[in-house]
């Protein structure tokens, strides 16, 4: 099957039950999305499929449209060309171990796509499905506000 990953067409020949996460990581070498739980509890594997944040550990590649558009953290922005959410994440120095942050950033970017001025309750509700064991939550809250402002001003 075919997937469009970060703007590039990729061929996959795998078991259709394989979760997108493992196709990305071990077949295509795209390791930004992380494995944390495999059961939709942590959000570390979050990517965008056709513009929506999904848990890639839960999406079997066989269930995806041929040529579906997948964006991972690597495709959101790169060190030289950052997305506004990544800029805010760096300004606030959110990451500690950083392992959950690909998922946090992808979830936050999708939230801001849908709502460029989320209130505290919305941020708490949407971001609570992304676990951070290091406890970076205070700066996640602050960075989302900064990113929202950047996006509104852009």
């Amino acid at each position: 099957m075919k997937l469009r990953v970060n703007g590039q067409d990729m061929q996959l020949d795998v078991d259709p039950e394989m979760p997108l996460l493992w196709a990305l990581r071990d077949e295509l070498g795209v390791t930004g999305p992380k494995y944390g739980c495999g059961i939709a509890q942590c959000g570390a594997c979050t990517v965008h499929v056709d513009g929506l944040a999904v848990r890639s550990c839960q999406m079997n590649v066989g269930s995806m449209e041929d040529g579906a558009d997948v964006t991972t953290i690597e495709g959101l922005g790169q060190p030289g060309a950052l997305h506004a959410v990544q800029e805010a994440w760096i300004e606030h120095q959110v990451a500690q171990c950083g392992y959950c942050q690909s998922g946090q950033i992808m979830q936050a970017a999708n939230l801001l796509d849908l709502n460029d001025d989320p209130d505290d309750a919305t941020i708490d509700a949407v971001m609570s499905a992304n676990l951070c064991r290091c406890g970076t939550y205070p700066r996640i809250r602050a960075a989302i506000k900064t990113a929202a402002q950047k996006l509104r001003e852009a």
Binding site: W22, K34, G36, G38, R133, G135
Partner: protein, 754 residues
């Protein structure tokens, strides 16, 4: 080795007298210089001035040997070197380097000295300094105990200074001027006439010189620092915000295969038999391997981790029984049978006044407390890539104990220690999990089944949580007497398994005797003066094997000691904060308590209908830390509104990261106080993934304010000290708001949270 064993046994766990006895031999051995590992393998024209700085015409490399589990240790180690070297730390390559004995940790064992951290006498300092001796002898290149900064503060700045002065010496010779006429900035030496020479261009010349000798006294005073103490960008922050940081689990090598394992969920139990026929023909499966090292089980090597996960699930295993009781209730029975029993007495490091007389003369207030087993559960599950070559083994992994891993891998594969090359990669958290190595042992044995091929073993989350060596469960019994509105007698017994001895035994094969300070760390060593004051440790029999968990003994003792103190203060009718301040006998700690009162606007625990605040205090790893938490009882459950953290860290070297560590520790403390426990059923933990082991999520996280004090003279690590006060502060706040006293974690068994 006999004498070394004796010194180590005594000095690890007991303390000063024995340490004194070991000094002559110990210092002799320990004073022998250890070879600089960077000297092997230097290219022509490359200079390595010491084990921490390497410069060639291509660039500058800083070696940061303490592992980065997320606490920012690579960054602070780089900053310490760069401060004296005069470079922008972000312009250098930063790597943990190849593990070597030169990188032993001289500070991590100093907590084992039986003198409370608030005592700063000559004897205490001498005893602590000698703890570096066994660390050096055992090649303890280890990260833990909030020890990175205290251990590296002088070493790394000296390393930077030596490199800088040697480069200046090379420039001086080239220019025909004296070294003292030269200055440095941003990686260049500047001559009196303004001429500039890049460090990289001087490396070849400098490599021929003896490094310039520098002393601690030559280091720059804090008033001249440009990097330390200033807000600075973490060296890994861009990579961690763009998905480009390569953790152990992300490593990809040519021709690599992926492995998964199902091991006996009863730790240490055997694999009796197995049937892998269902897994054999599955897609992607290349090999099925029986594993004996680490925890016994069966592994699958496949072309994709998911194929390997799926195949191990299809293997039927018959497991042997491990040698600990199968169910939590039996574990608690063992603790109940051991506490206050003479046969299980371990140590009594605090015994002031006359507790017995006081308890006999009044009706004491009594209470019992419990803290459960806990998994570390870092977000990145354990993993390792191992490649077995003809005469070498390469291991890529995130670990806190690279040299123990080297030695064990060599033993499993029947090779020399020197044949094993451990490459330490960034870690997605640890919290102490990576002080163990069963996953590495398994990975080595699995890779031996495919010589020449790099094999990555990844533990599934379920495998990770069921083979974690948890934080020990602990039981406390307290008795107290109050008189004239004051706390008069405070007597607690704490019972849990010993932790340090079994851990050392697993890692090194050495048997350590003697008492285990971790049983009462965080209780016996608190800076309070109570007329009758006693803390006694009882050692439970070995149950499920346990290990260090962020803040170690203080994670349970902080809750026990401070909550029981809160109870007695309430019995006495005193104000929780004022009475703690009155009882405090340590200046810096008192200031911390006063500051948290100011920051939180403390005017009593009562905040009106359904609201309340609590204060918690614990001094751990030499850092006094006080927290105030405000809560409200709502229809949806108890809500955490605000939290205030004050800690005295001696000197704030990396303020941005320091703040993150302090609130991170608070959140980690709350996460487990509220939501998490491991219980055992049929030898295995009942909670093996995050749905059953929640941690704290964003919606439960209060607004947090952090304040750092720098009154204590010495530099301290901050990865752990803000954790222990979190549970008592919250429990004390719940009591203030609702009148309900919770004496057992996790609290969600007793009260609903919003």
């Amino acid at each position: 080795m006999g004498a070394v064993k004796t010194i180590a046994r005594r000095s690890f766990l007991i303390g000063s007298a024995a340490i004194m006895g070991g000094v002559a031999f110990g210092t002799y051995m320990a004073a022998r210089p250890i070879a600089n590992p960077l000297e092997d393998g230097l290219a022509e024209g490359e200079a390595a001035f010491n084990p921490y700085v390497k410069i060639s015409s291509d660039g500058i490399t800083l070696i940061t040997p303490r592992a980065d589990k997320g606490q920012g240790s690579y960054s602070i180690q780089a900053h310490l070197i760069a401060e004296e070297l005069d470079i922008d730390p972000n312009s250098a390559t930063i790597t943990p380097g190849a593990p070597g004995p030169a990188y032993y940790n001289g500070a991590v064992l100093s907590e084992g000295v039986p003198i409370p951290a608030y005592v700063e006498t000559q004897v205490a300092e001498t005893a602590r300094a000698f703890m570096a001796v066994p660390a050096k002898l055992f090649e303890m290149q280890m990260t833990g105990g909030s020890s990175t900064v205290p251990d590296m503060f002088v070493k790394l700045r000296l390393a930077g200074a030596v490199a800088r002065e040697t480069l200046k010496e090379a420039a001086a010779r080239q220019l025909g001027v004296s070294r003292s006429e030269l200055t440095t900035r941003d990686g260049i030496v500047v001559a009196p006439d303004g001429q500039e020479l890049a460090y990289t261009a001087l490396a070849a010349e400098a490599a021929k010189l003896e490094p310039v000798v520098m002393q601690e006294a030559d280091l720059r005073p804090a008033s001249e620092w440009r990097i330390l103490g200033k807000p600075f960008q973490r060296t890994d922050i861009v990579a961690k915000s763009t998905g480009t940081e390569v953790y152990g689990i992300d490593l990809q090598l040519e021709g690599m295969r992926y492995a998964a394992i199902c091991a006996n969920p009863g730790i240490g139990g055997a694999l009796e038999s197995y049937d892998a026929s269902a897994a054999e023909g599955m897609r992607g499966v290349e090999k099925i391997v029986e594993v004996k090292a680490g925890n016994a089980g069966v592994a699958v090597i496949a072309t994709n981790s998911w194929y390997a996960f799926r195949a191990v699930e299809a293997i039927e295993c018959v497991w042997g029984t491990p040698d600990y009781p199968g169910n939590s209730s039996e574990h608690w029975e063992a603790l109940e049978a051991s506490i206050d029993s003479e046969a299980h007495f371990d140590h009594r490091q605090r015994n002031e006044g006359d507790v017995e007389v006081s308890l006999a003369s009044a009706t004491p207030f009594e209470a019992e407390y419990r803290a459960p087993y806990l998994a570390h559960a870092p977000m990145e599950p354990m993993n390792a890539v191992v490649q077995i070559g003809e005469d070498r083994i390469d291991i890529w992994t995130g670990t806190q104990i690279p040299l123990f891993i080297r030695n064990r891998a060599a033993a499993i594969a029947g090779m020399d220690n020197d044949a094993v090359h451990v490459h330490v990669l960034p870690m997605g958290g640890s919290f102490g999990h990576r002080l163990e190595m069963t996953h590495i042992e398994q990975a080595v044995e699995i890779a031996m089944a495919m010589p020449g091929t790099p094999v990555k073993l990844t533990w599934s989350r379920e495998e990770d949580m069921s083979h974690d060596y948890p934080r020990p469960a602990a039981l406390m019994r307290g008795r107290g007497v109050v008189a004239d509105g004051k706390v008069d007698t405070f007597d607690i017994s704490v019972c849990q398994q010993g932790l340090a001895g079994p851990w050392m035994g697993r890692l090194t094969g050495l048997t350590l005797g003697g008492p285990d300070a971790t049983i009462t760390t965080g209780s016996w060593d608190q800076p309070f003066g109570i007329p009758n004051y006693r803390v006694t440790g009882y050692r439970a029999p070995d149950l499920v094997p346990v290990s260090s968990w962020r803040s170690v003994g203080a994670s349970t003792n902080g809750f026990f000691h401070d909550t029981f103190l809160d109870e007695l203060i309430h019995e006495a009718g005193a104000d929780p904060l004022e009475e703690r301040i009155r009882l405090c006998i340590h200046d810096e700690s008192r200031k911390v308590l006063e500051a948290v009162g100011e920051l939180s606007g403390w005017d009593g625990a009562d905040m009106g209908e359904g609201r309340g605040r609590g204060v918690g205090f614990c001094m751990s790893f030499g850092v006094p830390c006080a927290e105030v938490i405000e809560v409200t009882q709502t229809e949806a459950g108890l809500r955490l509104d605000k939290a205030y953290v004050v800690a005295d860290v001696g000197q704030a070297l990396d303020p941005v990261n320091l703040e993150a560590q302090l609130y991170g520790g608070l959140i980690f403390g709350l996460a487990h106080a509220i939501n998490s426990e491991l219980t055992y059923e049929n030898y295995r933990p009942a909670q093996v993934n995050y749905h059953a082991y929640e941690g704290l999520r964003l919606y439960q996280t209060p607004q947090i304010e952090v304040k750092v004090l720098e009154n204590a003279g010495r530099v301290r690590g901050v990865g752990e000290p803000s954790l222990p006060p979190a549970a008592p502060a919250l429990g004390n706040a719940i009591f203030a708001a609702t009148g309900q006293r919770i004496r057992e974690m996790p609290f969600n068994k007793f009260i609903d949270f919003a």
